[in-house]
């Protein structure tokens, strides 16, 4: 027993760099040798899927890219999944893209590049990239009251009045569904408070894991139609639309990384209590 306790105490005081290396390996190895893990959609991801599925035919869908390269691994698979789902059944939906983050513009361009390789889309007929406008919640409020005051040109500087699919689009009430891929401020909170709540347009969100706890009350109250929670949420959505992508590939790495962290949390706590007990004893 004493021998076992000594080992635990040694693990508890291991150099932090050893832990970094172990976590790195736990994440890297499954990425090099992909392992299939069972993925079961959670009710909140299922709600997003159902919300997208229930959009009436020939609808206008607004997707906001409110994230940058730093949170790309979590949010990008979600926005790609949503776009694929919207376009997959050829139901005549039109996609309008906005960005509350300056680097969201490049995330949107990257997503459109990938989507354009899979679907035969025509710019300004099937989708329009309205682009980025600084102003955070003021922009969402502006879109809710008069979109044409916020966007007079799209991201390619084409006047809104010359874009066919912008005809009849004056504010958020002209959309049948909204989705925000959100990594923080501005993002989901602002879209709920200034976009969805005042207009009543259904809104779903894909967020970084760190935001989930704060956003979940909006799902509970029905202000958000489901939430894709971090990389697991993205993987669940990929599973729901039956299009495996980088999120599903990353789930094994995610799981093994967690196992190592949990293991060290347990060992660290055990080592703390053993050391405390020994100090008390002597």
């Amino acid at each position: 027993m004493r021998f076992l306790e000594d080992i635990i105490v040694k693990f508890g005081s291991v150099d932090r760099r050893v832990i970094f290396v172990l976590i790195g390996l736990a994440v890297l190895v499954p990425l090099l040798n992909p392992i299939d893990l069972a993925i079961r959609p959670t009710p909140s991801s299922q709600r997003v899927y159902d919300a997208v599925d229930s959009i009436p035919d020939n609808s206008n869908v607004l997707i906001s890219f409110d994230y940058g390269p730093s949170t790309r691994p979590e949010i990008h698979p979600m926005t790609l999944g949503i776009m694929r789902h919207i376009l997959s059944q050829d139901r005549g939906h039109k996609i309008y893209i906005t960005c509350l983050w300056p680097d969201g513009l490049y995330m949107a361009k990257d997503a459109l590049k990938i989507i354009n390789e899979e679907y035969d889309l025509v710019e300004h007929e099937d989708y329009v990239l309205l682009g980025f406008r600084p102003g955070n919640e003021a922009i969402v409020k502006g879109l809710a009251s008069d979109l044409r005051k916020v966007f007079t040109v799209d991201a390619a500087q084409t006047p809104i009045s010359e874009i066919p699919m912008m005809e009849g689009i004056n504010n958020l009430n002209d959309f049948q569904f909204m989705f925000t891929g959100s990594a923080g401020y501005p993002g989901t909170f602002e879209w709920v408070q200034y976009g969805a709540d005042p207009t009543g347009v259904p809104l779903s969100s894909g967020t970084t894991s760190i935001q989930v706890n704060e956003v979940m009350p909006y799902v509970q109250s029905g202000q958000l139609k489901g939430i894709l929670a971090g990389m697991p949420g993205a993987a669940e959505y990929e599973k729901l639309i039956d299009t495996p992508g980088i999120a599903i590939q990353g789930m094994a790495a995610q799981s093994y990384g967690h196992v190592v962290i949990v293991l060290f949390i347990i060992l660290g706590n055990l080592a703390y209590f053993i050391t405390e007990r020994r100090e008390r004893k002597y």
């Binding site: 150099d15 932090r16 760099r17 970094f20 976590i23 790195g24 994440v27 890297l28 990425l31 090099l32 959670t42 009710p43 909140s44 730093s70 949170t71 790309r72 691994p73 979590e74 300056p102 680097d103 682009g131 980025f132 406008r133 600084p134 919640e137 003021a138 409020k141 007079t152 040109v153 809104i160 009045s161 909170f189 602002e190 709920v192 408070q193 200034y194 709540d197 005042p198 970084t208 894991s209 760190i210 935001q211 706890n213 009350p217 909006y218 509970q220 109250s221 029905g222 202000q223 929670a229 971090g230 990389m231 697991p232 980088i246 990353g250 790495a253 995610q254 990384g257 967690h258 962290i261």
Partner: protein
């Protein structure tokens, strides 16, 4: 693959590994990556804000095709002339005056205006979406014949009781006008447990988020280690290890963790 793409991949691999090298200890590679990140971000934000907001939405209105200055200079971004926009221009200039000690008081006007607008906007959003809607969603039915007793998620009598007790006990914990002892103290203690569960979930999600970001960087590093990128990751990794080893050898006092 074009030279610029390969060069970009090599730079990305170098900067990623440079940031990772901080896990060993603070070092010149980390400093380079950190400073490049801050510098590029600041420049990128400044340029983006100017070309997406100030140029089209401010100057686009002040120098519109129908403006009195049209004979001198025109910016056609689909706006009509609006002289009121000289006001935000003036406030913006006043904010920049904070760098001059003699007249830096002028900056307060612009800051006060911005803070006032932000406070007004936030108050509206919070009141309607957070306060009223959240209070409504917490007012749940506790004993309804239509609800099942237990469900893993969504409405059920059990879940509603948990929401009710959790909300009340956590709120009571922050009521400091009464000593938290006896039955009342035990109830507020329950509130603390609810808060701790919430903090634990937040910590778990935070770890999950960080692992996701690590997966993203590893995915890129794996991609850049391909022959099509001329094994960029391996070259950069080798360079950083060799130089970092030499640097640590030359500065032994700095290598102690």
């Amino acid at each position: 693959m074009s030279f610029s793409t390969i060069l970009g991949a090599w730079i990305a691999a170098f900067l990623t590994l440079g940031i990772f090298s901080y896990l060993y200890k603070d070092n010149p590679f980390y400093k380079i990556a950190e400073h490049v990140f801050v510098g590029v971000s600041a420049a990128y934000w400044a340029a983006t804000f100017y070309w997406t907001q100030i140029y089209p939405n401010l100057f686009g209105r002040l120098f519109a095709v129908d403006s009195p200055f049209a004979s001198m200079y025109v910016i056609d971004k689909g706006h009509e002339y609006n002289g009121l926009y000289f006001f935000p221009l003036l406030l913006g200039i006043m904010m920049l005056l904070s760098v001059f000690k003699q007249i830096n008081w002028m900056a307060r006007w612009g800051i006060a205006y911005t803070v006032g607008i932000a406070a007004g906007l936030k108050a509206f959003g919070y009141l309607s979406s957070n306060v009223i809607s959240q209070i409504k969603s917490t007012a749940v039915e506790l004993f309804s014949g239509e609800l099942s007793f237990f469900a893993m998620s969504g409405d059920s009598i059990f879940n509603n009781i948990v929401i009710f007790i959790g909300t009340i006990s956590a709120l009571m914990y922050f009521y400091f006008s009464r000593e938290q002892s006896g039955a009342y103290g035990r109830f507020t203690r329950l509130g603390v447990y609810f808060l701790m569960i919430s903090f634990g979930a937040s910590f778990g999600f935070a770890v999950m988020g960080r692992i996701s970001l690590l997966i993203g960087r590893f995915n890129d590093l794996i991609l850049f280690s391909n022959p099509s990128y001329n094994y960029g990751t391996f070259w950069m990794l080798g360079l950083i290890i060799v130089v970092l080893g030499y640097w640590s050898f030359q500065n032994p006092e700095r290598t102690e963790g």
